[in-house]
Symmetry: D3
Subunit: 315 residues, 6 copies
């Protein structure tokens, strides 16, 4: 008989029951989780500060080893020389002082990035992607693939340049190596015309929601193969019926299945250098399914990257 193990609600909640480490500690791992419980840059309903802890708890339903029906999705720590996943805890953040916060986020991200193959960043609102991307300034020809209902390329919103509407604008200004952004899932009434024009002027690819399914394969193929990709998943890309726990939901979004097909294609063709999952507000979904879905998305993405996912099995 196997060893006794905890049910999902039992035990101290590190991500997927991984070893807890310090970002700057003495460790190596395939993947490392880092939380950024920061949500003061959003402009509507707060709560993303609670996401890292909620994701840790939800992840306990998906602790490896696991394998899907017919073994199409598998993740088995025994196959990894280094630890498969470690949990680097959360960045220590001030409640105010945004610039200090951004500095700490960048620093911790750099430390984690130096010690693992795939850092997994748990936001926080989408503003954190800017300081996170700064940790990847040394990767030549970095691509960003963004899943999002909104463009987040606005220059200034409500008198601030660092809100969750602007992370990619700031990143493009700072990081010459950030050559291209593809955004999947755009929809809704409100678009900043200047931002749309600026993104297009830089050559970014903007994919409205209704074209995602028909075009994602072609679009990913149009990128030169095997590029380093930072994958930024704003959970409001999902349909709010599927994931209601987010600050600014927009109807008619992604299903989980389509999202995973897209991610599998990204993994198959390119090299995912990091993953962030942002804008999850667990306090806005009393059914708890929002964090469960986001946690599963992370685990399934890791399985794909680790090499035992569906696309390796000929699916």
């Amino acid at each position: 008989m196997s060893q006794p193990s905890h049910l999902p609600y039992g035990g101290i909640a590190t991500f997927a029951r991984a070893l807890a480490v310090q970002p700057d500690g003495d460790w190596r791992a395939f993947a490392a989780v880092l939380g950024i419980p920061y949500d003061i840059a959003l402009g509507f309903r707060p709560g993303a500060r609670f996401a890292p802890r909620a994701l840790r708890e939800a992840s306990l339903r998906y602790t490896p080893p696991f394998s899907g029906l017919d073994g199409r999705v598998r993740l088995d720590p025994a196959q990894s020389p280094d630890p498969l996943i470690v949990d680097a805890g959360d960045v220590i953040l001030p409640s105010l002082e945004p610039e200090l916060a951004r500095g700490r986020i960048t620093q911790a991200a750099r430390q984690v990035k130096a010690r693992c193959r795939v850092p997994v960043f748990l936001g926080g609102d989408h503003s954190v992607t800017y300081p996170l991307l700064r940790a990847f300034h040394d990767i030549p020809e970095l691509h960003v693939i963004q899943l999002d209902a909104h463009l987040d390329f606005t220059d200034t919103r409500n008198d601030t340049r660092y809100s969750n509407s602007s992370p990619f604008r700031r990143a493009c200004e700072d990081l010459p190596n950030l050559v291209h952004i593809t955004t999947f899932g755009l929809r809704g009434l409100r678009f900043d015309a200047e931002a749309v024009a600026a993104a297009r002027a830089r050559g970014h690819t903007l994919v409205p929601m209704e074209q995602v399914e028909s075009q994602f394969q072609t679009l990913l193929e149009s990128m030169p193969a095997h590029r380093p990709v930072y994958l930024s998943i704003d959970v409001d890309a999902f349909d709010p019926a599927v994931l209601p726990g987010t600050s600014s939901p927009e109807p008619d979004g992604l299903t989980y299945a389509l999202t995973m097909r897209l991610i599998r294609e990204v993994v198959r063709r390119h090299q995912v250098v990091a993953l962030d999952v942002v804008e999850l507000a667990p306090n806005l979904d009393p059914t708890g399914r929002s964090e469960l879905l986001a946690a599963r998305l992370i685990m399934e993405t890791l399985a794909e990257v680790f090499g035992t996912g569906a696309h390796h099995a000929g699916a």
Copy 2:
């Protein structure tokens, strides 16, 4: 830099930050919002009385000017000689005394109708559509397009003739000019056979949910062009996954996208003389997405009617 403006949770909540007016005041506008916080005529879970205020708050995420990605949906007050929208507040209603309530609803609706091109009525349960329609007794050959899971054409339910199951029956009895009703989205176990027969005897068009997508275009084309249409949207027409905050949800309903395609077609072919949105019960949806979706529906419909919506752009 643009003027400072409120985030959606800031400021006194008039609809879309419109000017607050009295229904019988000295104003003109393209559209005017009138709330009817009345829900004692429904037979299950109350809460629609809270809808007008919830819709005002949710509308603040969609204040014009706005434009969708690629400008397909646009609404810009600067292009309107009159104010684009005013908020005429709510009808003052007694908590009992249904007949008195109906009288006040009709009176306020008449006042608002006389001052704008498109009145937008915020229910309230669906019983309010009967006194609202009475304000349109003077429009020759009025058509109603109803989005609804239920027919609402029952003669008597639980000993009352004025419940939210009967508004269209009463309206057809009172209003000789109401020539035709098309109902989209019908589904569920419970239909009043007498009501179905009576509606068909009058020549109404009953479209079950599973036929909406395949047939709405044909059906709208089968109407003579450019008819005056009163558009009545019972939010239980939506799939409960998309909009759970309603008294009597029925599975397998409309998506937001299909609904807007249908509404765009109505606007393209006919003349929308008024819009009501009823049966929203914000207290039944702690995620808040129900009122956000209904508020966006109103704004996007106004954009279509105002002439800058997707169907004008060749979409």
Copy 3:
């Protein structure tokens, strides 16, 4: 005018306002409801103990007689010589003492089964299906059709052989007459490879979610016609957007419409000897739509079996 009758929130809540009886009383009926408020065998979020009462309350929106639009789904007590439905109450269960609980469940199920054509069992977690199936040990060549995201065929989980992961494993060990299980809707990351292999070794049919729609008809036709079928519906087979109130939701599940198409086909080709609905946790869905959907599913299935459902009308 018809007799006064209760609105759904009025009156003592027996299932569909049926007569309350004892499981071993002196009665006969077409269908009989038996609740099993037992949820200590699940491994995540409790609450299924509240499901029988929640289903009784929700059922009051669907009390017969009813008929769908165009009479496609009908249930009319007047057409039944015996009572159409009785409510046999709940099995009296200890809060601990699992073996005693299983014994009582089997005994009450036998009593109910002896007195009606279609027992309807309201779980409880899925572990109750094992003692329920024991009441059907006397039916030659019994088939089970299971709607479920999970296989529930695990030998041992967290040190117990009787959890909600194992009911069908135990049943197959005990019941030689249980010849075959078809499971529709399987999905998710975690499958017990031993359980999958064991189920296949017995010849069971495992249908992943993404193949349900394309294959259910063929699969049901591949069974010899008119077999006795025990229909076990774990509500986590549904998409969590459609039914969020369940312990262990998995994204990308069944819609209500597809589920009813599948059930209609089962009824059309085979003989449903019993129905259970398990894993509903009403406390996890504050919108209330989960129990409403599950109650409607039961009523619509009964209408199909009783002979006035859609498949009899040539739909």
Copy 4:
């Protein structure tokens, strides 16, 4: 060992597991429960329509026989020749048509009153006390003892004379035998000066919250002994911390202990001819403690009246 019995969440929920009867059936009992799921006469937050069912469910934690520590509060069906309690179900009510509703309430109350010693009426909003009191028109020199934050003696509110602000005004107009009302627990900012004056002109006793504890004994002694008393308990008399589930909470209200001391004194000195519990809105208290407290209040009051309560034991 005792007979197996249900845990509180098990079984069909009649009040305290009492026999279900019709109001006009062939039965006799010490106490009979009658629900009035009616809440369209209130002016703020609805939900009292759900109270009768919630009270039935909560009552299952307090099913007799029971006895408190040291036997001070006891209720034992074995000591009653007739059934101790029966559950007469709910009055069948239209969702609109207030006058018809009032007629049905009075009729059912008369039927129940004729068959038991202590009817227990489960509101509904406080407007139902007017038609309930009409069933007691034949009791000479009827006294009402009202526990309430509000006076409910207003002539007209928001254009209606039958709202939950007016039941006692209407009753005093109609019932010459209603000689006196004592109201305990009054507090808050809003009092209708005309109503206060009218109540005092009739000689009613108005006891502000802050005087309840010091004066209830004296006040009850000042009434002639052994008077017939109709006890009307608006649950907003309680402190909202103790019972938050009510439409219009007012801070600084009654504790449960003080309420029971007051009720014990009423029972000791007078003859309780009926009890109503109104304005409970279970949907406004997700902790569930509101209905549990109200159900216990009913059971403990019945124990006092039945003769085994604390005041009979010399407490």
Copy 5:
């Protein structure tokens, strides 16, 4: 009969149905409400950004004119030459950029202060009291009376000097006229020893919760009479049973009654120059009683200040 008027859930929600004005408009009033929907300076559970709107809605249950039982608390607009209350809306705030936010708060507070006798500031978290107090730099010998579980006099917390732990420290540094602070209701485990010492070194009066009742009268009398008092009410001063909707509740706090006795004594002896109510998080209390209590507190305080409250009536 009186004019028809709205039930509390009806109509556009300005505070107490007051006229909406601009902070810098052309108006005069006795009291003016100004909202500050700002909560990014707190260190635990967000939501105070929703408080101004929630307080407006809750205030509609307490619209003047009103008078308590026996006229002890009265507020009657007819007795005021100027408008009694106006609603100056909310300060327009950026979601980040704390310094800019503080500047705007001070500016709007100055504008409002110049136009009314008693500004009422609706927070927001407690950090807003610092920029609010800056608007009172011109009042000689300003006293602050603070109701609060926490001292909020910390120099630096989590790397910021402007959090909701520091408003009074910053104010004392900036405002030479702020001569003294009395804090009522202190309790809990966590006190910053340096802050306690600093407050005492300045001569501030620190009153632990358990001494409030016995000492408030003496303490207020020990102040020289008729001083200008800024009254700052952190709602976590209340017992969490009474007001659960706040970020950082501490057990064993103030009742509403004791709070009003204290406030009445302040009003009787001194001159209230402004009132703020902060740290209300309506999203944390689904029963809605938190905002109802806080709204009533404001109205009752205004009644006392306006001169018709209980202390003027000899209570």
Copy 6:
């Protein structure tokens, strides 16, 4: 400036940010926390399985070092040679198999007890106190002080001898060294007369709620001084207004202040050998104040025991 540190919602949640250890690891500490996420032995509303994790999260608002106002309650890790607190995680429990679960609980409790001075056990329902007490079989003349609304001394309930109604009955049968139990806070309608008699026959002290305040000092003094005391706190001892998150609330319970006065007296006169906190159901209290209060209770009790609490300071 002090080191950066997490806000309460940041970082991996061990209890009070203590070091995570294994129950049988190589460590020594003053206090050690052990969770028992087990709630299948209760008979009403589940959720106590979620308590250990909720208590860990809530404890982060009370991480030492801290000191109350005036230093009356202090806890400073720097004053402890061993670690002040470690977090030994949760016992690994099966979802069924009660006997196996009890064995594992006893074993882990023994391991923890051997390594620290004060084990702190986080339930789970109250049934876990029986296996916990078995770990203290070696302490001569063990006393239990129980805070509880219920006696929990029932022989058999609903056919089981191991439910949360029986832990102390089982413990007294098994542990000859358990010489006496004092239960504070008893109240409610339902007492098992046989259990009351049996407890009294053993000489236990039963203190009804209404006598706690007047008698706790006398009662604790009546015990011989300096006895080993196991302190078992069922959170339903608290008033439900103060702590609503529990399965079976009973009105009129303990305040936090009275509870701490009682605990301080216990600590002052006796030797606390362990502490358990049981029956917390965080899922039943959406305001979150229940777990915050229970976490603070634990921290404040530890401060008292550690020697820097209020009673050491002459309070």
